[in-house]
Point group: C2
Chain length 197, copies 2
DNA sequence: GCGTGTTGTTTGAATGTTCAATCAATCGCC
DNA sequence: GGCGATTGATTGAACATTCAAACAACACGC
């Protein structure tokens, strides 16, 4: 494994655990067993490590996130809730300390470099694009006038908001209630599609 | 104005603008024109400043947030969307750099002191309690089986998720779409209440 | 009115630590 | 022998926090 890969892997974990600002270069060095010079040979600055991490998330969304979450799930709407239930698993596994790695960074970085902000946005964009594809695949099960892009973004909204509250209260039921509400919304939409006005 | 008030006021603004970790004691001192000894006389540590800020948000939610947002609005469901439109104003006023002060802190602080986490949770609790009251006041306009607590939390979810995306994309339309989706959900609920199954 | 003690507040330089980043020297491979 | 990669001690700035000293306001006895 290259030094670059080592650093990105370690940084993914540490930024997620402690946040960007609270992760020191020294943390990365001790985790990777590298020396500072090696790190700075690969990444000119700490921010470039962050960029590497965000690129890795962006490029790995299908393999690292969606594929595991969607294993054995075919139904497009079921896929949406399978993804949410994948996040639920992450929340439970971390004793409700889970934070979405992208969402947390998006709120922690208050004056992000344009490049960083673009990558945060690209990550959100990829996520919602995947959901939007599911909604397209759902075809006529949703009312024809449904704004599928807006609805996909709403799924992300519910996930991020649910994760934030579950984490703050250290109680997964806050996430569950967000999913239940979203489910109710989808049920109402599917019903409306069956019985057109 | 007491030193304590000065510090809390300055910290509210700086934590909101730059985040907790990126706000230094020196920042607070230069903003308040105090000396470090005075600050540490009032607050034993930086974290105690944070606690003071969170208490101020908790105690000021009605006067500082809800009263302005709800001026001239009586209808309980309209109040919910008036509050969201108040946030929209904040987003626009800050050129889409707005972050919910509580939500941002909730995601920035990765291993918060129990006291801090309790206060973050209390802030969310107060916010949703206010929405839940609106939902109760809406009475039979919502289906009788509606879980009003869960729905109130969902409103917070939509707000936080919408703010996060609007900020990340620097585009208020992401917030607008979240609100539109929530509105659609409420419309479906109100319709379902009119024509019971 | 006047000294004296008391209590709470303010001053700001100093402390020790942590941090991101540097760089001259060295290594190891082709 | 040349060149990219690696070493790790070092730098200087930024950081939260401390503290002895100074100050202000008031109370008390005389």
């Amino acid at each position: 494994m290259s030094a670059r890969e080592k650093i990105v892997l370690a940084a993914m974990e540490l930024f997620w655990l402690k946040g960007y600002n609270s992760t020191s270069i020294a943390d990365l060095l001790s985790r990777t067993q590298l020396n500072s010079g090696s790190l700075y040979h690969v990444f000119p600055s700490k921010q470039d490590v962050l960029i590497g991490v965000l690129e890795a998330y962006r490029d790995g969304i299908h393999q690292q996130l969606l594929a595991p979450a969607w294993a054995g799930v075919d139904d497009p709407i079921a896929k949406i809730f399978a993804l949410l239930s994948h996040y639920r698993m992450l929340i439970v596994e971390t004793d409700c300390a889970y934070g979405c790695p992208v969402g947390s960074l998006a709120l922690e970085l208050h004056e992000p470099d344009p490049k960083v902000r673009e990558l945060l946005a690209a990550n959100f964009e990829n996520w919602t694009a995947a959901i939007e594809q599911c909604l397209s695949d759902a075809g006529k099960r949703l009312p024809p006038e449904t704004d599928r892009r807006a609805l996909a973004q709403f799924v992300l909204t519910a996930m991020e908001g649910g994760v934030m509250q579950a984490r703050t209260h250290r109680d997964v039921s806050y996430f569950d209630r967000a999913v239940t509400q979203l489910r109710a919304h989808f049920d109402l939409l599917e019903n409306a599609a069956k019985v057109p006005a």
